[in-house]
Amino acid sequence: MMQEQKARKTGYRIIRYSPWLVHFNTGACNGCDIEVLASITPLYDPERFGVKLSPSIRHGDILVVTGAVTKKAADRLKRLYDQMPCPKFVVAVGACAIDGGVFSKSYSVVGGADKVVPVAIYIPGCPPRPEAILDGLVKLLTALREEEVQNNGCS
Amino acid sequence: MDVAEKLKLLEDFALEKSVLKPNRKLFVVEPSYVRRIFESLIEKLGHGGFYLSTIVGTDLKEENKIRLDYYVVMLPEEETVVIRTFLPRENPVIDSLIDIIPGALAGECETYDLLGVVFRGNPFLKRGFFVPTDVSEKGIYPLRKDSGV
């Protein structure tokens, strides 16, 4: 038990220096995608926090979910989440990923990423500004430093 | 060939003419003539003279009909004309255009899957391309007004 906790703390400490993002579009309107893309450009530059888009899901620490989770994408989202190494955190970006947004009534939409995977931070907005996305990431990193995050998906 | 002459091609087949807002010429034709109209369009204008923009299917439940609109854009004037036809609701079958106009494929597959209009001669028609299998296995076409989904 103690060992597990210690391992978790070590994991948090390592991640918070340089968490790598993986971006997955689960049926978004591209609005959030271009804002996630815009937030890695020079004006916002999250590499100051060590945050960087990772090439593969197996290198990622933070999964950025955009879009109303459609039934087909829900399978993929679960599979991607399982492939990520521990500890792992999910950030739901935009109204659609949080609660389904305007699509919540559609029968092809599961409605909300937290119905499929545990979500650590919600970033509201339609779409959220890049600053809001950075704000969410900074809040997640702060929570990591204080070891307050619950939904790491492994324990 | 100017626009009036091109429209003359369609008028020969039309049962009635009207105008769809905003200012699109609308020709109501027999379902069996649709393919022949497009053949004559290709013959007179060539493949570069027009393109098929959209196929819109609408379920008119009260009249017990399915309405099919072909939106054609004449080049180079970009005059949009509508070729409208009515099919019976129980057994909607019409000739496919796919072998003469490849661009019709997207519209035909979609209309078949969502409304159940059978395009005779289209080998790519398939239930479950858009509609989930649990719905398509029940034989439900989602855009019909009584589909209940």
Partner: protein, 400 residues
């Protein structure tokens, strides 16, 4: 191109799945590429990751709520979607906005065209491996986003269109701010255009890749920059003259090369045109009354009627068909045909005979927008029952 030729798949082909989660492809589409060595022999497409059932959703909601739902078909082209739908409603209701509102609508749509074209050009630079240029273009794109924010109140989702007008007005201060941004942007765009024209890396990767002939473009119903780069002069701004396009001077850009490079160059030239149009609008903004209608006083009941509107979105001709039966507050039928639907589904013949490395380049040069394409009702193929139509077969459409 081999559309008239049926490609036999040799036994020794390699199957390379690209997407839906792939570093070179930022869109949820899955291309199954069959390659013989490095050469692509066949492409299949797997879709359905992005169906949200919008057409059915529109029938279930009221006319006014639908304005905001159709804005979310595609985030990049939300203003044109809303504009097209709102103009269809105006046709049914028989109302027209005043001239100032028409000019402001055009301004918001042209700003959107600028940012969308800059985005796809930046992504193209990234895909060919020119990351410096990607960062540079994205940095300048932020200026356009600022202009959009000043005009509409949000960076991406404009929510700017309303029946018989727009939802907020601009004053002198805002006007000067937007004008200054556009003037600064112009020299930058000219510079980037020169980079795309003359840089060796880009020219080597783009020229002669994915060539489309005039006849192929029309018979496959290609629209937008994809068609205009092949010499097909389709531009519903020039032919339909909706909103204020009859008063604002602009040129329709066409090129004859028809390859990926030509498509990117068409986009750069269109950005320059859009900037000119934006400056013209801001200089000649009419002041004939308030462009913002009182949303509480708009008509609640819609007479029976139907309308079919076209709009020139960034990716090509976008059409809406709206039908009202006059009995309920909901539309009877909304049909959306997006440009990407035509452009992507029919594009497979373009990949054949190119190398694997060219696949993302060709796909990007089409400017794919999967969220636009897959708006159709319902989804979703059960796991394991993968239904797919080979794109090659689709595009040849039965023509042997």
């Amino acid at each position: 191109m081999g559309i008239t030729k049926v490609v036999e798949i040799p036994v020794v082909t390699t199957e390379v799945p690209i997407g839906p989660q792939h570093p070179a492809l930022h869109e949820p589409i899955m291309l199954k590429v069959y390659a013989d060595g490095e050469e692509v022999v066949k492409v299949e497409v797997n879709t359905g990751y992005n169906h949200r059932g919008i057409e059915k959703l529109c029938e279930k909601n009221t006319f006014y709520r639908d304005i905001f739902i159709v804005s979310r078909v595609c985030g990049i082209c939300n203003a044109v979607h809303a504009n097209c739908y709102v103009r269809a409603l105006e046709q049914i209701l028989d109302v027209t906005p005043n001239r100032r509102a028409k000019f402001l609508r055009v301004l918001s749509m042209e700003l959107e065209r600028i940012h969308s074209h800059m985005l796809i050009n930046a992504v193209m630079a990234e895909i060919v491996g020119f990351e410096t240029l990607f960062m540079q273009i994205m940095l300048d794109r932020e200026r356009v986003m600022k202009a959009k924010e000043i005009l509409t109140g949000n960076r991406v989702s404009a929510d700017y269109m309303m029946v018989s007008g727009v939802r907020r007005d601009i004053d002198e201060v805002k006007r000067d701010k937007i004008k200054e941004i556009l003037l600064k942007l112009k020299s930058k765009i000219e510079y980037y255009k020169k980079v795309f024209e003359e840089d060796e890396t880009l020219v080597k990767r783009l020229v002669d890749v994915g060539r489309v002939k005039y006849e192929d473009a029309t018979s496959h119903s290609f629209v937008g920059p994809l068609a205009r780069a092949s010499g097909v002069r389709i531009d519903s701004r020039a032919s339909d003259k909706y909103d204020a396009y009859d008063e604002i001077p602009f040129n329709v850009i066409t090129r004859t090369e028809g390859d990926s490079w030509a498509r990117m160059m068409v986009r750069w030239d269109e950005i320059l045109e859009s900037i000119e149009m934006g400056i013209y609008i801001l200089n000649n903004l009419p002041s004939d009354g308030n462009p913002v209608p009182d949303e509480r006083r708009l008509p609640r009941r819609f007479p029976p009627g139907e309308a079919y509107t076209r709009v020139e979105a960034q990716r090509g001709e976008l059409t809406y068909y709206v039908m009202s039966d006059g009995k309920t507050q909901n539309p009877y039928r909304v049909k959306i045909r997006t440009p990407s639907f035509n452009n992507i589904v029919n594009s497979a013949f373009m990949y054949v005979k190119h190398t694997l490395a060219d696949v993302p380049v060709i796909l990007t040069s089409i400017d794919p927008c999967i969220s636009c394409m897959e708006r159709v009702t319902l989804i979703d193929l059960e796991k394991g029952v993968r239904q797919r139509i080979p794109l090659k077969q689709l595009s040849s459409g039965g023509r042997k």
